[in-house]
Amino acid sequence: MPEYCRLLRVALSAGCAAIPMAGHAQETTSIEAIDVASDRASENVARTPITGVRVDRQTLERRQARSSDIAELLADLPGVSAATGGGFSSMPSIRGLSEQRLTVLVDGFAIDAACPNDMNPPLSYTDPQSISSITVLTGVAPVSSGGDNIGGVISVESAPPKFAVMGRTLVTGEASSFYRSNGDAFGGAATLTVAGPGLSATYTGSYIRSDQYHGGGNDGLVRSSEYAKTDHALALAWQHAAGLLRLKGGIQSSPYEGFPNQYMDMVDNKSWFVNASYEGYFDWGDLELKAAYRDTDHAMNFLEDKLPGAMPMNTEVHSLDASAKVSLPVSMHDTVRIGSEYHHQWLDDRWPPVPGNTMMGPNAFVNINGATRDRIGAFAEWERHWSDRASSVVGIRYDRVEMDTGTVQPYGTGMMQMADVMAASAFNAAGRKRTDNNWSGSALFVYEVSARAALEFGYAHKVRSPNIYERYSWGRGSMASRMIGWYGDGNGYVGDPDLAPEKADTLSAALALGGEGSAWTLRIAPYYTRVDDYIDAAFLQDLTDMAGMPTGFVQLRFANQDAEFYGIDLSGTVQLAKGENGDGTRLSGSMSWLESHNLTDGGPVYRQMPLAVKIGVAHRRDALELSADFEWVARKTRVDATRNEPMTAAYALLDLGAAYTVSGIRVSLDVENVFDTAYDLPLGGVSLGDYKATGVLRSVPGRGRSFNLGFSTRF
């Protein structure tokens, strides 16, 4: 080959446009573009690439007509299940761990519960119609992802700011709405962004409402399952030479949300927040500063299905959150992250007297008197890329949790109120301030065996301090204690200021086979978690009715016990046919198996999902999408005897879906539970709304058949 040809070839392939121009001293040499891909497992070690899953906007758009409950939608993922609450307040459970054991972040911020029944968990402040992505880390999460937790991480992101090209103005948005026949539910959402090259403003709003739904077959109406809420948020972003400044504020208002498995319903929840974050990208590294304030007013009483009667309960929470983090690329292989976080929670919970009621009066019941829970944490983490294929993240963190609360008071001092009178004086006499010094550590290793196989290993020791209700609930009367608890079991709970923090050791492994461009994928992820001082419950007494007969419900005290959880999550896909532009037919499947043991009492841990298998087929051709999803869940026989947890039967459900996109509008019709199968939710708890109305106690039934209609468009 002549030399000049070789040179030309090199020049072209290297994008080398160094064409000599006589007389010019300075000319620019183009270097061929560098590609920075972020899909490789070893690149993403800090995001647990194999046990971590990212649910994107497209997936949410396909699912938003089905449910307004993020946790319920996340239960599609292997290792994740949803413990029933209200219609938009299910509590996610990851590998057997739930509630505050998980880190749940919305736009990077933690949201404190503001209810003795955890009716307003963080995900209840989000709507599937208006969020852009959810990242779920089911395995070992690096300590930088948050402290004061022992389980997985759920991170919800609303749309990242969009900016216009120089000299232009960008106007873009999305709108959607849905209707569900079962429960006569409907809702809508809109996102609108107006942006220049440096400034961006995004409004997000959503509205949902539903009546009570019906169970399948002969299960009939499921009482206290209605809900409504509105969310509004405005986000501003300013992008300058080296960083991004964001400001966001929002308000949520929910006028009612029934809780089928609680004695109470939510009759009002108002929450507003402001937050600010700054991300700076400098030559020495990244800087992230965040601050947030949230104020929540939560009111409980009875909705129509639990009438007659009244029992107002008001909870107020103020939270302040601030953090500073730096990420330092100390060498081409090493990144060091250092961060510090502060979180302040103030919680007050009072139950006004009910006029004319001898039990609930004459004074207000002070359940929690201005309790505070302050956490200050710091971490250091080292990420190293040992080679193109192997990387690791190792970190330690320290969290100091300080809690205190004021004196309490019962409704009154009558004979019938004696249990609470004595409990209050004992509580008020004792020291209530507690300080925990919690040390955590995590280590993750990712190795790409080949382009088609990757391995992940993780170990973590994590610690969580008790929440305010676990430590400071004090009422010993039947009624007062039955107002405490997020278990949906109808039992009464009493706190214990002397509870120790939960300490968990987790081993997690995962193997991913197949991958980009492969006709199939398979992920196998086993795990084992042992929790010392797991906050479970110990028997205090049987609860009795007016005649002194046991009701079948019990009073329990939060207690440190030991527990272990192990299981395996499997998931895979097979591309059956593949066409152009994402057309094709895909088969997907997953299986989650989990077993838990309370090592103190020898029985199973409460509210654990039985074996679940899911198989789905999705077909897409041009504007048409078709899907069929089958789910089989085994009988739940491993139940917690301490709480009289009911068993649930095995069931199988089929969903069918079709969607068509015409002139930018996607119209979908799904048939959920096609055969109208009657089934009990394995994590549904007992149906107390029905119990009050019928006197028959049953498990909370799952939704019967529903025709779900969805519309969405982008502009």
């Binding site: 920075v36 030559d283 081409m332 294929r389």
Partner: protein, 141 residues
């Protein structure tokens, strides 16, 4: 397992010919091709093309050195074009954004890659000082 070269072997990497894949191929090229420099066996047709050959080899080396500082797992899409100038010792005299990706993080990561990779190997004598001005698109996806 292909080990990443240590910082001290940066210069060694520049000595070897990096065979580049066709532009647009998603797979990232090997950081350093294992073989020795391709022998220029043909008689030299002229001084200009020899200079270009040396320059293109030097450019390949720059590219490989910058690539080693790529950040992991950004999960963003966009292309930033960075311009930079070197002195005769391979030191970075200036670096700036020629074209923004529209995303400040991508822009700054691309700039950081170039700045952290500097100083580079001393340019060959054959390369005139007037040719030490470069533009580099960095494509995140």
């Amino acid at each position: 397992m292909q080990e990443r070269p240590e910082r001290s072997t940066l210069a060694a990497g520049l000595q070897s010919r990096t065979m580049l894949p066709p532009a647009g191929l998603a797979q990232e090229p090997p950081l350093i091709a294992p073989g020795p420099a391709a022998p220029a066996s043909d008689p030299t047709p002229g001084a200009d093309s020899r200079t270009d050959d040396v320059l293109s080899r030097y450019v390949d080396g720059l590219r490989a050195a910058i690539l080693r500082w790529k950040p992991g797992g950004l999960r963003k899409e966009g292309t930033a074009i960075v311009g930079f100038r070197l002195d005769r010792e391979g030191r970075l005299i200036s670096s700036q954004l020629v074209e923004s990706s529209g995303d400040v993080q991508i822009d700054r990561m691309a700039l950081r890659m170039v700045r952290r990779a500097a100083p580079f190997r001393k340019p060959d004598e054959e390369i005139p000082a007037g040719k030490l001005d470069f533009v580099l698109p960095v494509r995140f996806h």
